[in-house]
Amino acid sequence: MSPKARIMTILRSRPFLTLLVVAAVWIVASLATRGFGAFGHLRYLVELAAVIGLVAAGQTFVVVAGGIDLSVAAIVTVAAVGLPLVSSSADPTGLSAILIVLAMTTAIGLVNGLGVAYLKVHPMIMTLAMATFLQGLLIIIAGGSAVSVQNPLVGWLGNARPAGIPAGVLLWVVISALVLFVMHATPFGARIFAIGANPRAAELSGVPVPATTIAIYGISGLTAGLAGVLVLGMNGQGYVGIGDPYLLASIAAVVLGGTSILGGLGTYAGTIPGSILLVTITALITVVNASPGWRSILFGSLILGLLLLSGREAARR
């Protein structure tokens, strides 16, 4: 491919187009509202986008493989509520608690994967039922009250700004690089796309479909758990329902970024600007001082409008 053709491909690619939309919205909003374009505000937006981006990382894997994970919100809550409970004063760094929680959320994801791969339960039912199950469990464990955390590492993650960049954003950058590498430069990544495009063909070509499926849902549990740790650090408190906004957000970010909800097509490079776009929309809606009803209508309509611009399926032949 000649350099010129390569540049044209990048310019026409969905991730780049989503990035352009984000840039356009930022420029227009900065001109229209005072303070929107300030560095501190934009940095804050990216910090918020990091949480969605982390949840959407696992969701991208699952959606590319032709599934969907509706339990991510519950998993974020499990991590945010569970971490204060497993934090002990014996470990001054707080690392052990984070590792325990991440192991826990990964295990939840693996159970999702087991159900989908071996029991052949449809992903939507498996993950919805898992979310229902976790919701009940969380209320039993945590009750209705908020739990605050005394964990140095979690606090650092949520509040520290080495070199002016929030630690959460740094975490997101690292995870993004990892995800992009795994997705596009490893055999495992290639298998995910194969399963999403045509599971039977993938199976017949020797792809270990069940093992790969289980791993994908495990990854989704892991990244949702990371997002839960980050959101806990930013909030200082965990409570039941803290993860709820991230279900729609993660799916919308994936779809806005150009990944097909039918599987087999897409990239995390699109989900990244998709997450930032979503946060920007939410911020703009907050600026427009409207009642909760209107805010909800505006949010839904904007997502629908953006979908019309970007998320259309191919025509029937």
Partner: protein, 323 residues
């Protein structure tokens, strides 16, 4: 085929019942489980077999049956809706704000029906004609519809005419009779061209389209009817509680999908029967009631419900693998 005489008009009647029986094959196990649950329920709560006990039980089942039908209708055409709960809420708040006003019950019911049909038709149009994925459209739609419900009634309130509440949620089995009527209407709908196209549009849209089946119209009609059933369920819930609540329908989204899947409706379209979905909703409703009578806390009900749904969906698959 030679065994079938050419004068098919008079023999199609003879074929009707075997065909119907054939459709029961996939859901026979489900029917048995439902029967077992009814026996268990009757044992725990002997009042079930009195008139008022039966009325109360069918009333707790009725809204779930409607949303299960609404979801099954969509899943049969290869669609799905994550906005059922929000639509139920909208139906409830419209009913609770209009029926005691100048519009009266007739006007209020007409508004509820129009809202359901309209929302469904718009959703269907976006999904079918603009070719957007149904999951995402209805997820975004649930925000818009839920927002509209909040605008109409920001906090629980409103009122329903007392006689309507007594009629629908009193000691008469009006809800059950209404359900029977709706099932009969569904049978009639299946005999219309749009109804006949329903399964074809879900099973093999491309093939159906090439054979001249109005695929797009059938799918949009399915969304519209699904909206109507959802707001209808909302009206009933409002009559049950005597007031409107803008978030009362939230649980119906998951429960409608669970009921349809328990009833053997497939996600890919064209697989399953409405009687299965109804049995699935009855099973779910029985499960919730039985757990209530066994003294499960609402929280434990969540946990048990999650487990039972996975088990019920996984079990038939498991048997298939072993064979």
């Amino acid at each position: 085929m030679s065994a079938v005489p050419s004068t098919s008009g008079q023999h199609s009647g003879r074929l009707y019942w075997p065909v119907q029986a054939g459709r029961n094959v996939g859901v026979r196990g489900l029917f048995a489980v439902v029967l077992a649950f009814i026996v268990a329920y009757g044992f725990l709560f002997p009042g079930l077999f009195t008139m008022s006990g039966f009325a109360k039980f069918t009333q707790s089942w009725f809204p779930l049956a409607l949303v299960a039908m609404a979801q099954a209708l969509l899943m049969l055409t290869g669609g799905i809706s994550l906005a059922i709960g929000a639509t139920v809420s909208l139906g409830a708040v419209i009913a609770a704000t209009t029926m005691v006003g100048p519009l009266g019950v007739a006007g209020g019911s007409a508004l509820v029906a129009a809202a359901g049909l309209g929302i469904g038709a718009i959703t269907g149009f976006i999904v079918v004609k603009l070719r957007l994925p149904a999951i995402v459209v209805t997820l975004a739609g649930s925000f818009i519809i839920g927002g509209a419900a909040l605008l109409i009634l920001p906090r629980p309130g409103g009122a329903m005419p007392e006689w309507l509440s007594d009629l629908l949620a009193g000691n008469t089995p009006a809800a059950f009779l209404l359900l029977v009527a709706i099932v009969l209407l569904w049978k009639l709908y299946l005999a219309t061209p749009l109804g006949l196209s329903l399964y074809a549009a879900g099973e093999n849209p491309v093939g159906a389209y090439r054979s001249g089946v109005p695929v797009d119209a059938a799918r949009i009609a399915a969304y519209a009817l699904s909206g109507l059933l959802s707001t209808g369920a909302g009206l009933f819930v409002a009559a049950q509680t005597g007031s409107g609540d803008p978030v009362i329908g939230a649980a119906f989204t998951l429960n409608s999908i669970a009921a349809a899947v328990l009833g053997g409706i497939g996600f890919l379209g064209g697989q399953g029967t409405m009687r299965g979905a109804l049995a699935g909703s009855l099973l779910l409703s029985l499960m919730i009631s039985v757990m209530f009578f066994l003294g499960f806390t609402p929280v434990a009900q969540y946990v048990a419900q999650g487990l039972i749904i996975i088990g019920a969906v996984a079990l038939p698959q498991f048997r298939k693998v072993q064979r």
